[in-house]
Subunit: 198 residues, 2 copies
DNA sequence: CACAAAGATGAACGATGTTCAATATAAAAA
DNA sequence: TTTTTATATTGAACATCGTTCATCTTTGTG
């Protein structure tokens, strides 16, 4: 039973991530406390630091899980053979629904900042790629003369546009609008982008 | 000389805001410390709390100043009689230049969150209105059948779209792109939005 | 069972935002 | 001017946070 220690450590890691996820979901990233996480995970305070370098490390893993669930949600929203406008609309509305349903976890994806000088690790940056891919696939049919990189950059731009609308709304800055109005604006913007010829 | 106390308090307030602005500019909102602000403003730590309720109050005033400078920069970028596409493009690029030149202060505008349950005060929400107005004016000519509210909401959507592209880039999340590519994407998106018919 | 190695623990540390009794200063009164 | 009162300024003290590490427990081995 030489693997027991390894197993226990992985159990602890999993429990810590679950606890962190629940706490962010319930109270938001800003109210996340190391002591609360440890308590909910049933470990001592120090246990957290035997698994992760610091709180940021745990938050990255929580965000990683959130991204995976977002990927599942978005993949379920599209059917491969429909046209671009339909696809953009479905993706945008699925993104809206996910953000509304998991507000705090979704916010944590973008609110979290690494400490001064430290940059987001490569493995976590790569996890965002599917978002670009989801948009790039239908978009490439609309940009037949563009290179792969150009399509990827444009896909990123389109995602950022939709994301910006959602983000600014849910942040509660500016004048708030109703969910119906937000859904309408997202629909309109998705249409504009899908029909656009740069 | 019954006004001397009032004057001194206003002096202190101004010095604190200047100190906060400089510190955010140099080190970012995340590294802002009450002790550093007080020291740079030449007051005791407690002095900060005789002027503002808490650090959030000071940050709101710093953001207020940043918004005023942004307003000046954007107003200088547009000439009233040019067409919509030209106006959107000028505004977008001026916004890009402002964000690049004042990265940390610009980030603070959107990174800052009020504590649990407290919402941004009305006077500060109202300060964002000019951004909507700047876009709504040319946009209303393109949406002749729409109500004022509808135009304002659409203006907000268009601003959010451009802002999202900038935001996602400067956050360093996703794959980073060069400043030239960013400028190009902003240009393309501004054109798409200006020519859009919903 | 005894012993070594690794893991878990939580008191302690330094840093932070905020408060408030004590002090210093300005305004008013004598 | 001198005294008295009201206000403003101060910074030590407090509560809370992330993080560390000496200590204790548990696990694996001969």
């Amino acid at each position: 039973m030489a693997a027991k220690r390894q197993t226990k450590k992985e159990d602890l890691k999993a429990r810590l991530i679950v606890a962190g996820t629940e706490l962010i979901r319930e109270q938001g990233l800003k109210n996340l406390r190391a002591r609360d996480i440890a308590e909910r995970a049933g470990s001592a305070l120090g246990g957290l630091y035997t698994v992760f370098d610091d709180l940021d490390g745990l938050i990255l893993h929580v965000n990683s899980g959130t991204l995976k669930r977002l990927e599942t949600a978005l993949n379920a929203a599209i059917s491969p053979s429909t046209n671009i406008e339909e696809t953009f609309l479905s993706l945008s509305l699925a993104y809206l629904r996910f953000a509304l349903a998991e507000r705090n976890l979704w916010s944590a994806l973008f609110e979290h900042r690494m400490p001064e000088g430290v940059s987001v690790p490569e493995w976590h940056l790569a996890e965002h790629a599917f978002l670009i891919g989801l948009i790039a696939t239908p978009l490439s049919r609309q940009m037949p003369d563009a290179s792969c990189d150009e399509v990827a950059i444009r896909a990123r731009t389109f995602f950022a546009a939709i994301h910006g609308v959602l983000s600014l709304s849910l942040e509660g800055r500016f004048i708030g609008i109703t969910t119906e109005a937000l859904e309408h604006e997202i629909t309109v913007l998705a249409g504009i982008l899908a029909r656009s010829r740069s």
